[in-house]
Amino acid sequence: MSTEPEFNILASFLRRMMPDVEGHDAGDPPDAIRSRLDVFAAGKADAKERTSLSQLLKEHPEYIGYLGRAIRGTVA
């Protein structure tokens, strides 16, 4: 089972079926969420906050694009 190609196949399929399901960008999240994501992207979130944000992002994959950019901008 090869993780990357298989997940990419599924993500591409779902993207064609439901454009928002795999984290397509929907603009910046609301301020309260954005600040939490920024803290997480800076590596300053504790385990409890990581768990909470993971659940939030599972329910709102449209925010993952923002988080990805924040991480790349922070840790580069």
């Binding site: 591409s12 399929f13 079926m17 795999e22 590596g43 993971s54």
Partner: protein
């Protein structure tokens, strides 16, 4: 998502083969009889079709390919054999439903709703215009599986594979954990997706004996067969 995943290799020889078939080329037709028909038959047998069922479904596939001109949807983005095998799987699913050889729809996704989940999906405005039952079923199964995956593992996988966040950076975000921990999380997420997807399909369509490899083929190189060409 890496560019490579969005731009699959172009199968020029298979595309030319399909064009020859569409043009009615006799040699191409003979090759279809020799290579692709047996591939379709093997696929149907693997999905649990009897010989009699397979003959009937093969006829449906042929009608789709030629009379309904579905072959014209083949773009060469994957092997032609994968395209026709996926079309056969889709036709088999339609055949099963037509003959009512299926269990009643379960309510895995919404215990409160009395609607058939397939009907709900059919009303979804986000669906692709050429969506077919197999695509609906696979989407339903995959989305269900995503709801079952561990949230942290799923986030790690999405950040890594869709947002190109480096593994060592994920380690920093996850409290300085070892890279092996991140790798295991990603693997666990995909295994959960696989197991939950297949369990869902088995529950919804027990007669459709679809394997993970079949599903990968249907979602990957066979996607054009069930969704139409990507834009």
């Amino acid at each position: 998502m890496p560019d490579s995943a969005d731009t699959p290799a172009f199968h020029s020889a298979d595309f030319e083969f399909a064009q020859d078939l569409l043009d009615g080329d006799k040699l191409a037709w003979q090759r279809f009889e020799d290579e692709l028909k047996p591939a379709i038959a093997r696929k149907l047998a693997g999905l649990g079709a009897t010989d009699a069922d397979a003959d009937e479904v093969l006829g449906i596939v042929m009608e789709k390919l030629w009379a309904q001109k579905k072959l014209a949807a083949y773009t060469g983005s994957g092997p032609l054999s994968g395209f026709v095998r996926t079309m056969a799987a889709n036709a088999w699913l339609e055949y099963l439903r037509k003959h009512r050889r299926m269990v009643p729809a379960t309510n895995l996704t919404d215990d409160e709703s009395e609607d058939d989940p397939m009907d709900r999906l059919a009303r979804d405005e986000a669906v692709a215009p050429q969506e077919t039952p197999l695509a609906e079923l696979l989407r339903d199964a995959l989305i269900y599986s995503l709801t079952q995956v561990d949230a942290e593992a799923l986030l790690i996988m999405r950040l890594s594979l869709l947002q190109d966040v480096k593994q060592r950076d994920l380690c920093l975000l996850w409290g300085g954990c070892h890279e092996g921990t991140i790798s295991r999380k990603k693997q666990e997420a995909l295994e959960q997706i696989r197991d939950e997807t297949l369990a869902y399909l088995k529950e919804r369509e027990p007669t459709l004996k679809i394997s993970w490899q079949d599903l990968m083929e249907a979602c990957g190189e066979g996607a054009d067969a069930i969704l139409g060409p990507s834009i």
